[in-house]
């Protein structure tokens, strides 16, 4: 009997926080994702204007042309909060580490045609600098984005981009037999080689964009949306003819990451487009501008890797992205206007 009395006495007086209950109902226990990411960002009564931008409040929805009635519609389908994010990525990293060990122990890189191995070093390793730029872009979104939901996911994506740059760097060490020669050479190509300059210019140009949602579209939708399929799909396929499988094992991290990240990117873009005609027009405008520039910037690299097949691969990537964006309520021309 005594136990019954106790159990009866210990009744929760509420299921979750009030700000969560206002969104999802008072009787429903909230998920950890919801409690971690909804409505934590301050929204009102800021004390001082930023000395670097007094026209804005410290957190200000006017930092982008995109307008939302509610900024908490950018639900991450992966429901990442810090713990689930890190546990997920630790597992991905473990798979990568296993692949590196497997390849190194058996010296599988030695079995890849020398010419293809050099070509991979040629296109893959400079991409770590693209990741570095992407990292900075994600930090800008985490800095100036609006709402806990988008900023925490952007911060995770930023950490991913640092990690991706390091994964590519590690592949560079494998390709260089443990030395940094390949990384040094790749940086030199990034800085000087003609075929890399349009892409470097594009990346640097993104770093002066101040509308965080435009940065989101330019980097995460457009550049990633064209570059990743090119590298992890078209280039890998070309490698198959050169016994490139061991390298594909190493770049598997990139493939898996891109599939995972795209789920979040699609959800965000879809929600922004669904909000209003005005948003759609702004998004389509950014897609046009950055889409044209990204395709141009990637063309010389595709040409370098695939030769005559380069333009077709770019066109295929554009078509894929176009289909994807169409499903999200946006329009992205399959082919560039002449």
């Amino acid at each position: 009997m005594n136990i019954d009395i106790q159990a009866e006495a210990i009744i929760p007086r509420r299921q979750t926080f009030s700000h969560i209950a206002r969104r999802f109902g008072v009787d429903k226990p909230a998920s950890r994702y919801e409690e971690a990411t909804f409505d934590v960002q301050p929204t009102a009564n800021f004390h001082y204007r930023p000395t670097y931008a007094p026209e804005f409040e410290l957190y200000d929805p006017r930092r982008t042309k995109i307008a939302m009635a509610d900024w908490y519609v950018f639900r991450d389908p992966r429901q990442f909060y810090y713990a689930t994010y890190n546990i997920n990525r630790a597992a991905m990293q473990q798979s990568f580490d296993d692949a590196v060990n497997f390849v190194e122990k058996r010296d599988l890189i030695g079995s890849v045609a020398r010419e293809w191995r050099d070509r991979v070093a040629g296109y893959l390793l400079p991409l770590r600098h693209v990741e570095w730029g992407a990292n900075m872009n994600c930090q800008l979104i985490a800095d100036w984005g609006y709402g806990t939901q988008i900023t925490s996911a952007a911060a995770f994506c930023g950490a991913d981009r640092l990690g991706l740059g390091q994964v590519i760097s590690r592949i560079g060490l494998v390709l260089g037999d443990g030395s940094d020669e390949e990384l040094v050479a790749a940086k030199q190509r990034w800085m000087e080689a003609a075929e890399w300059q349009p892409l470097r210019r594009l990346v640097e140009d993104m770093l002066v964009v101040r509308d965080w949602f435009e940065v989101y579209v330019a980097q995460l939708v457009v550049l990633d949306g064209l570059l990743y399929p090119l590298v992890t799909d078209a280039f890998d396929r070309a490698g198959a003819a050169h016994n490139g499988a061991p390298i594909a094992m190493l770049t598997g991290f990139l493939t898996d990451w891109y599939a995972d990240n795209s789920r979040w990117v699609d959800a965000v873009v879809k929600a922004a487009a669904a909000e209003s005609e005005g948003n759609r027009a702004v998004l389509n405008g950014w897609l046009d501008t950055w889409g044209a520039r990204a395709a141009d910037a990637l063309a010389p690299i595709a040409g370098q890797v695939l030769g005559d097949m380069g333009p077709a691969a770019i066109a295929e990537a554009r078509a894929q992205l176009s289909d994807r964006l169409q499903k999200l309520g946006l329009s992205f021309a399959k082919e560039l206007a002449a």
Partner: protein, 508 residues
């Protein structure tokens, strides 16, 4: 076959700053426009030495493992009614203050370290800043998840983020952090990484964690311990950043000294709330505020500033005042909350005899003479059914935003009133420290959103107290008022009743 293995340092170099490059299509000052306006001169960003060489692979691995351990404890706490293990329901008021006042700051730290991770021109510092950015997000989220369980049973926790933006005493931590995030990147580093994380953070976390441990709050101990392993990295960043800035150019020294003076005082005033929590809200005591101040500031800080003397940095201005006030600070802060418990989302209560004895022992020169009579008078009034609540709204300090309760050094009967004039208006401050801060940047501090003034401007839901409390989302009669007679007290007593040994029940 790995013939030319790189050292950890070389590898880390390639894996971080090696990915950075000198831009040529855009000007560096357009990519990093905020790097020079504070007057700090950096000649060589590469001189920054990364104290920890943590790459993302290790970061994910270690953090994932820490999180697995932490969430196992949080789960077990929820499954086993861990709230029954605390010493007393009064303890929970420390947790309430923490989630209302500190947890939102963790989120804001996440945002602003992302700001540094984007806008500092040095690649090494950017990497350190972004790890701290996600660490801070971690602390925010793990605190929410831990305290979520208490929220199911206790009051005052349920709308912490809404309250943080509005409630009068929460403008103290909010304005502190807004002050830092509205400043330039170097002042923020000095304010948060150095002055707060390195110099003062032990005063927040160590007493809070040990307090939680002594009072049966195992969930908070676990997140505190787990967070502390990140804090070690953050503290190191703070110390190395300050050294780096000071070593870069002599002209940086006076600028940094002024920031250290300012942020020491800002942080110290903020900690008066923590000190009150230590001295008044922990049923089982760890150490007094005065003891903590002596060991964590006077000893550790003294050694630190002796080391920084080589750069021409001296101890923060008014550290002597903080030392002189340590026997008064927490009692004056408790007086505020006792006065205004009807408008707060925490409880206060009559300080019982056992607790009075502890305070007399810890504060032999001040407590019995000055503060005990005050509490005994309140006790008498409460016994007559007239629990003392202040009907007026307090005068607030324009800078720290704490009600103007602090007294003159050496004269505990007289409030320290300071006033400045700016553009024809008066601005009141609580101390020389806060007045100096105002006088240096009046254009900034004249903007302050002072909760009491906002109420009188009609911006807080209405002209009556119940309307304002509604606007705060305070559940009246539950979140606020004295602990005696609160639903929380009734619940706790019922639980404790249920835990009586079966024999006693049978005997009835």
């Amino acid at each position: 076959m790995v013939a030319r293995k790189l050292s950890l340092k070389q590898k880390y170099g390639h894996f971080t700053r090696g990915m950075d490059w000198e831009p040529s299509y855009q000007a560096k000052e357009d990519i990093f426009p905020f790097a020079s306006y504070e007057g700090i001169k950096i000649h060589d960003w590469d001189a920054w030495e990364d104290p920890f060489k943590l790459t993302m692979d290790a970061y994910w691995k270690f953090q994932a493992e820490k999180e697995r351990k932490l969430y196992a404890v949080i789960d077990s706490m929820a499954q086993n009614n861990g709230q029954l293990g605390i010493t007393d329901a009064r303890y929970l008021n420390a947790v309430k203050l923490f989630i209302q006042g500190v947890t939102p700051l963790e989120y804001q730290a996440h945002r602003h370290f992302a700001h540094l991770a984007r806008h500092l021109p040095g690649a090494g510092l950017r990497v350190a800043a972004q790890m701290q950015s996600i660490d801070e997000l971690r602390h925010c989220q793990t605190q929410i998840h831990t305290i979520s369980h208490y929220n199911k049973f206790f009051d005052g926790i349920h709308d912490f983020a809404h309250m943080h933006d509005r409630l009068w005493y929460l403008s103290v931590p909010k304005s502190f952090f807004d002050d830092a995030t509205s400043a330039g990147p170097f002042e923020f580093l000095t304010a948060i990484s150095f002055s707060f994380e390195y110099v003062l953070t032990n005063l927040l976390f160590v007493p809070f964690m040990s307090g939680a441990a002594y009072n049966g709050d195992m969930a908070t101990v676990t997140f505190g311990f787990s967070a502390q392993s990140d804090e070690s990295r953050h503290m190191t960043l703070g110390l190395e950043a300050i050294r780096f800035i000071l070593e870069q150019d002599e002209a940086n020294v006076p600028i940094v000294q002024r920031w250290i003076d300012k942020w020491f005082w800002r942080g110290y005033r903020l900690l008066s709330l923590v000190g009150m929590m230590m001295d008044y809200m922990l049923p089982k005591k760890v150490m007094s505020w005065a003891e903590a101040w002596e060991s964590y500031y006077e000893e550790a800080g003294g050694a630190l500033f002796a080391d920084l003397a080589r750069y021409g940095i001296r101890e923060p201005k008014y550290a002597d005042v903080a030392k002189a006030e340590k026997g008064h600070l927490t009692h004056q802060a408790w007086t505020i909350f006792y006065n205004y418990t009807h408008a707060a989302a925490i409880h206060t209560w009559d300080v019982d005899d056992q607790h009075l004895a502890w305070l007399r022992e810890k504060y032999p020169e001040t407590f019995e003479q000055i503060y005990q009579p005050r509490y005994l008078k309140w006790r008498e009034q409460a016994a007559e059914g007239k629990r003392f609540y202040n009907n007026g709204l307090p005068q607030l300090c324009q800078v720290c935003q704490i009600p103007m309760v602090f007294t003159e050094v050496g004269d505990p009967d007289t409030i320290s009133f300071r006033v400045s004039e700016h553009e024809g208006d008066k601005y009141h401050t609580c101390s020389d420290g806060c007045r100096d801060i105002f006088d240096h940047e009046p254009v900034k501090y004249a903007q302050a959103w002072l909760p009491v003034h906002q109420i009188f401007q009609g911006n807080c839901g209405g002209a009556t107290l119940p309307e304002v409390l509604d606007w705060y989302h305070i559940n009246q009669g539950a979140d606020n008022m004295d602990y005696a007679g609160s639903p929380e007290e009734a619940q706790w007593d019922k639980w404790m009743e249920g835990r009586r040994p079966p024999l006693a029940v049978a005997a009835e």
